[in-house]
Symmetry: C2
Subunit: 418 residues, 2 copies
């Protein structure tokens, strides 16, 4: 599908993508936008021009966050997507062309992206069997790698909503309490085992009333789209605190998401069958629909030294989202099975995405096997865990039929502890 706009051939954001975000241009008010090539279509301007009046309320796109649009539901999402496609494609409807949409674009490099939605609750799952198996082998070498419940339900926990930040936000190295196994007493100080977690998360809407679960067959109506997620983790803090109530300060200091929400509609060509589940899950987690998405993922690292020497970011891992054991529909059905209310804008992250080979792991703790086998950087440096000045970029994309549905990046640079 061709646009009358000039969109680079390798862009993450062709006409087939149209991901949603929120931005501030020249210090002005926050507007919603859709990425198109290197530009952003200002949705507030589109709405103010009356171009969606026959589809939905202007207010949905004139808001300062996507929450009202997320609440509006899938019919509205699809109708707006179709309208934007019609406005942007080459040789489209003459009346729409006359709207002169060209006026409503701004350059991505001239704006600041902000969080696309207010995130009420953030849940993090643990849905890669390769990741869960790796950690089980590492920390319980004499037992079963997977806990007895793991194959029966998508394990998850609540994370911190207040520290979900957008691509590019610097990450201050957390301080915290930790006790190495051989030490007699805990100490307090900067984390010495700062890690990443490569994840993909979904943004929810419209959600359910408390007490009324979302059936797995209806999950599609409550999942708007996906973002990349870096669930930064301080392994030393986490190891000391997690018994018995799970992760808390080892995770809560920061979680980075990519700025553009790529819709399920855009990702439809990348949808495929996921891995077989053995044993078959309980009926409330069963679906015949295909819920895996073939999203290629990469982790890039660039150290301070690399930056200073002009050495480009180095890709240290490549994997795919397609192999996740538990899928998003199962996660959503499980999370609401007890009547928990979902609100528009809620973030549900997959858990660390690891493949089955050493070059496809989603965390340093796996890549370096608990720090024992440091990674060699192109600068000659070695990394067991993250050092100050390291910048991590998560990237994701799906390629189908010559077009690339991309996510952009979720980047963050480590600043020294304060």
């Amino acid at each position: 599908m061709e646009s009358w706009r000039d969109i680079g051939e390798r862009s993450d954001f062709p006409l087939e993508n149209l991901p949603y975000g929120a931005f501030r241009a020249h210090g002005g008010a926050v507007h919603l936008g859709v990425a198109v090539g290197e530009d952003v279509l200002d949705l507030a301007a589109v709405a103010q021009a009356g171009l969606i009046d026959d589809i939905c309320e202007r207010e949905l796109l004139e808001a300062a966050s996507l929450n009202p649009f997320l609440a509006a539901g899938p019919d509205c999402w699809t109708a707006v997507r179709e309208r934007l496609t019609a406005l942007l494609q080459l040789g489209g409807d003459a009346r729409l062309r006359a709207a002169n949409v060209d006026r409503f674009f701004v350059r991505q490099r001239e704006i600041d992206m902000v969080l696309p939605a207010e995130i009420g609750d953030y849940v993090d799952f643990y849905s890669s069997i390769e990741h869960a198996t790796n950690l089980g082998r590492m920390f319980r070498p004499d037992g079963e790698a997977l806990m007895p419940n793991w194959r029966h339900l998508p394990i998850g926990y609540h994370g911190r909503a207040s520290t979900v930040v957008i691509d590019g936000t610097p990450i201050v190295r957390p301080r915290g309490q930790r006790k190495p196994p051989q030490a007699a007493l805990p100490t307090f100080g900067p984390s010495a085992r700062l890690d990443i977690e490569l994840e993909v998360g979904f943004i929810a809407g419209p959600g359910n009333a408390m007490g009324e679960p979302i059936a797995i067959a209806d999950a599609r109506e409550h999942i708007f789209g996906l973002v990349l997620v870096n669930d930064w983790s301080a392994r030393d803090i986490q190891a000391w605190e997690y018994q018995l109530l799970g992760p808390f300060l080892g995770k809560s200091f920061a979680t980075t998401i990519s700025p553009w929400i790529v819709t399920l509609d855009a990702l439809e060509p990348c949808r495929m069958a996921g891995p077989q589940q053995v044993p078959q899950p309980l009926p409330y987690l069963q679906t015949r629909d295909e819920w895996a998405y073939d999203i290629a993922l990469a982790v890039d690292v660039q150290s301070q030294t690399m930056r200073e020497r002009g050495i480009a970011p180095q890709t240290i891992s490549r994997t795919t989202f397609a192999g996740m054991y538990w899928n998003m529909a199962q996660q959503l059905a499980h999370a609401t099975s007890n009547g928990t209310a979902i609100r528009p804008g809620d973030l549900y992250a997959s858990g660390t995405i690891s493949g089955s080979t050493p070059d496809s792991l989603g965390s340093f703790i796996e890549m370096t096997w608990n720090g024992e086998r440091p990674i060699e950087l192109a600068s000659g440096e070695r990394r067991a865990f993250l050092e100050d000045g390291d910048e991590i970029a998560l990237r994701g994309w799906c390629e189908r039929g010559g077009s690339r549905i991309g996510f952009g990046a979720a980047r963050g640079m480590i600043l020294p502890a304060r």
Copy 2:
């Protein structure tokens, strides 16, 4: 201190209390209010009458939630409290008396209370050593009752913000996945081990920027006041899911809070020294200030049968908040020690509050020792865990110098699973 208003002698809400809440009268807009005896002083009306113009912005009290007021900080909180006291006390300032504040009262029984603040993040601690010891003895009879980390840091986890509900909200029995130890496979169905947790929580404000911890010496400036919290728990769901990432669906279906936030200023007469901590905590958790609050707590239950036979609610537990091992200042300093951002309105709950005697326990799982010793109700019924139709009321108050600083109640009735 006497008021010109008629306040019942045993009221939870004398002039010394002045707790904050939010209400809707006759289906109208949400207003902020302060409880006085059996009435509520409408703060929007007070602000609109110009009675706080010399102290702070009217908008803080005209809002539909306390969040802006919480963000304003302790100087504003204290100034408004002093002004309200001056407006209400007998023989106060003649100019203020002329304001004719009597016009601004509504009857509590004629209004609907709503959540006093938008809760961005909800954290639940585990800070009663009696409770943690009881559960340790119950589930790990052959090991140490307390985990090795327990005396070094206030263990906590993130709960679900979307399902924090106000006093009186019915609680639908959650369904979920559970597997009794002797069963081969898990099943899905209504929780058979539905429980309460008697807790006290603090509401935060104004909070910190991400990356900038709140020192324990500054905790007072970020704790507005307290509410009663019932952290409803499905023990069967929790037991099967919690490894390795902690509580999730066993807790996320509902958390009830009392409607009035009782301020630290009001509770000042009830402040006292807490228990000695051994070993001494690390410096970031050390404080010489007294941070325990002598709040008496009670748990009442009334079954459907009791209601039908006109049998009054039965008090099944009485305890005090004063004995908590970890205090609120330590909880807040710990929770932000890694740079986590606190936002106005965040809820931090204490964890189940249990005393050292059998009649002072904060959960059924402790009172009935994992269901083995059911409670006898006045109706002749027995309870291992909650049955449909049971109503639980948590109550809390502090009595000092003849005045009672009360919390009202946090009530919830169990409805059958859907």
